[in-house]
């Protein structure tokens, strides 16, 4: 069909035989039989995931930060903040300031320096806990100086707080949670990375106003008794640690047990954690750089790091072989999302008969196994450049049927344990005749014939 000499519609019929034919119209194909459309197939273009470049140089521009809190009226209140830039150690203590916001502001101002531009400031578990403490003083500093704050939060988790500062905002630093990159406790990390030990034992109850009514932040006196520790055992361990720290290299100090300083000890602990975390991050960054030529600096979370590793080290080879990963959004995303459910957890038999044994097995790396060799992923290719969407009788289509299908499922009565899950909003979706209609929702059920 042409209008003013311009082609606006091209209709092509092929395979015409005894009432069945395929009609091609723009990007859609219609399989027509006995004057009825049996199958409609449309193709549409998507962008594909592209490889990224590897990094050339290793960059270890880290600051590590830790905030110690006390419990006042059941609420965590910061009373000490320390940071370490790999060379210098800094500490800020509440009794030197009017309130904790002043203390935090002072610490932040020491970090907003030209020499730290491009640095990433990590705190372990910042997102769940300390992140929000930092926002208020940053917003306050924002009013005073010309700062620009770019926070990124996801599902209540602080991913990144970017701050631009200095003349024309030309400098920048970012606050991150190292736990999102290495989701293990700092103690575990320091063990595995074989760096200086983190300190976990401290008389924390000494900083809980329900137990110690009048917390004196400048307390210097007898070492808090075992009741301020979580156990007698922890108290003994602390005693050994404290004695060796205070008497290190010198002869034993006189009366050191009665000259215990809350401030000195808090700062010692807080800085110790900063140094441990710094060593862990430097080692981790070197590992990743040596193996994959990537810096951790620009990847705030573990999924974003592993995604970058895939794109920089493997994706180009896959493209060379003629395969492409389509970027899926909009309606296609919402449709295919319905098929995206997790593993199934089910209880089938509540207990074992007396005198029998039960064997508990775990699969080694089930998800990696499900991604590895021979696990065929839905992709595009030189042969199939476009995504295809169909409605109707797919048996009319001669190509391979690999993808995601909407269907009516009939469950079987002869199965002990169901294996197909559906997302559902309520059980109402399951009909008594055993058919299940797809619906979207959060829970999954695995119905069986009834």
């Amino acid at each position: 069909m042409k209008i003013k000499g311009k082609l606006i519609l091209k209709v092509e019929d092929v395979n015409a035989s005894s009432g069945s034919f395929t009609r091609k119209l723009n990007s859609s194909e219609y399989f027509i039989s006995n004057n009825k459309i049996k199958l409609k197939m449309s193709t549409y273009k998507t962008d594909v995931l592209r490889p990224i470049k590897k990094d050339k140089k290793l960059v270890n521009k880290f600051i590590t930060l830790d905030i110690e809190t006390m419990l006042i009226d059941g609420e965590h209140t910061p009373y000490c903040i320390c940071f370490y830039d790999g060379v210098e150690k800094y500490s800020f203590y509440l009794s030197d300031y009017g309130d904790y916001n002043e203390m935090l502001k002072s610490a932040l101002e020491s970090m907003l320096r030209a020499k730290y531009s491009g640095y990433v400031i990590y705190a372990h578990n910042l997102s769940k806990f300390d992140g929000i403490f930092l926002l208020n003083p940053l917003v306050e500093l924002c009013n005073k100086e010309q700062l620009k704050i770019n926070p990124v939060f996801r599902e209540d988790c602080m991913i990144n707080i970017g701050v631009n500062f200095g003349p024309k905002n030309k400098y920048n630093i970012s606050f991150r949670d190292s736990y999102l990159l290495l989701p293990l406790s700092l103690q575990n990390l320091s063990n595995q990375f074989k760096v200086g030990q983190v300190k976990t034992i401290f008389p924390y109850k000494f900083l809980n106003d329900k137990i110690n009514k009048n917390i004196d932040l400048n307390y210097i006196g007898t070492l808090p008794g075992s009741s301020y520790f979580s156990s007698e055992e922890e108290y003994s361990k602390y005693l050994i640690d404290y004695s060796s720290a205070i008497n290190s290299g010198k002869r034993i100090k006189k009366n050191f047990l009665s000259k215990w300083s809350l401030k000195n000890e808090t700062v010692r602990y807080c800085l110790n954690d900063c140094v441990s975390l710094h060593e862990v991050l430097v080692k981790f960054n070197e590992f990743i750089f040596n193996k994959f030529k990537l810096n951790i600096q620009v990847r705030p979370t573990l999924p974003s790091l592993t995604f970058a590793i895939f794109r920089s080290n493997y994706l180009a080879k896959i493209e060379k072989q003629g395969y492409y990963i389509p970027l899926i959004n909009g309606k296609t995303y919402l449709d295919i999302k319905q098929s995206y459910t997790g593993g199934s957890t089910d209880m089938f038999v509540p207990t074992n008969p007396k005198g029998t044994k039960t064997f508990g097995y775990d699969v080694n790396s089930l998800y990696p196994k499900s991604m590895g060799e021979g696990m065929l992923m839905p992709v595009l290719s030189r042969q199939q450049k476009y995504l295809k969407y169909f409605e109707g009788d797919i048996s009319r289509y001669s190509g391979e049927r690999f993808g995601f299908f909407n269907c009516e499922v009939k469950t079987t009565k002869n199965l002990m344990h169901p294996i197909l899950q559906v997302r559902h909003v309520s059980i109402k979706g399951a009909k008594t005749d055993g058919t299940v209609k797809n619906s979207s929702g959060l829970r999954t059920i695995s119905p069986l014939g009834c």
Binding site: D47, L135, P151, V152, F153, L182, L189, Q192, F284, K291, P303, F307, I309, F310, Y314, L327, K331, K337, S339, Y340, G343, T345, M347, F348, P350, T351, K357, F359, G360, Y361, D362, V363, N364, S365, L366, Y367, P368, M371, E373, M375, L376, M377, P378, L380, Q384, K388, Y389, F390, E391, G399, F402, F404, F405, C407, V409, K410, T412, M416, I419, L420
Partner: protein
């Protein structure tokens, strides 16, 4: 909507289905080399070594990244008075009140309901990949769900509790093989993520979802009786 390979697998077990509509793709094992290299690293180190955890974490974190919502959440610090303006245009998920009349919000635009190109640049996500991976994991586990050789008491995403020892061909330290974690003389499975047992050596292992404090096995036993209840307390 289902992944085609999961439907084919279900057919083997007697399910029937009629396809109405869907999406067609080509196929390729794009992660084979990525997994092979990282699994080699994991195998070469002991669990006490950092490389062991790193390789494990890197392998397990990739599929979720593909499955992210392309409609990312945005974050902004706004003035209290601007909130109404944002509420008109966006879905607001979280808001936190800061000082000086400021507000931290996370918000999203609503997903478009039409096929094809969107006006914005496509985000780097591909949910078919994530969905296929979790489906392959379920297909693998389905082999142990209706097996006449043993009674299946309980299954979790990647574990099974069965009445017999598995054949040697299934058990090794290789990728995708089973590891025998425990042999129990007594077990109780009450609900998903609520179970426990006593091992041959007399050790009690009890898991209660959302509960960190140790729960005695005897508490689970009480719950096998109809209409019984047990109250558990946990210090936060």
């Amino acid at each position: 909507m289902y992944f085609s390979e999961e439907l084919k697998n279900a057919k083997k077990y007697g399910y029937e289905y009629k396809i109405k509509s869907g999406y067609l793709f080509d196929k390729f094992d794009i992660f084979a080399e990525f997994i092979e290299e990282l699994y080699k690293i994991k195998e070469a180190h002991t669990p006490a070594d950092s490389w062991y955890s790193i390789s494990k974490l890197l392998m397990n974190s990739l599929y979720g990244r593909f499955g992210m919502d392309p409609n990312f959440e945005n974050t902004a610090i706004i003035n209290d008075s601007e909130l109404d303006k944002y509420l008109e245009t966006f879905d607001i998920f979280e808001k936190k009140y800061l000082e000086h009349g400021k507000l931290l919000i996370t918000y999203k635009e609503t997903n478009s309901r039409s096929h094809g190109e969107s006006r914005e640049k496509a985000k780097n996500v591909s949910i078919p990949i994530a969905s296929a991976i979790t489906a392959y994991a379920r297909i693998f586990m389905s082999q142990f769900k209706n097996n006449p050789n043993f009674i299946l008491y309980y299954t979790d995403t990647d574990s099974i509790y069965v009445s017999e020892k598995l054949d040697d061909e299934w058990v090794s330290n290789k990728l995708g093989k089973f590891k025998l974690e425990n042999i129990f003389t007594e077990v109780i499975f009450l609900a998903p993520k609520v179970y426990g047992g006593i091992t041959e050596s007399g050790e009690e292992i009890v898991k209660v979802k959302g509960f960190k404090t140790k729960v005695p096995f005897s508490e689970l036993e009480k719950l096998l009786i109809k209409d019984s209840s047990v109250e558990l307390k946990q210090e936060k």
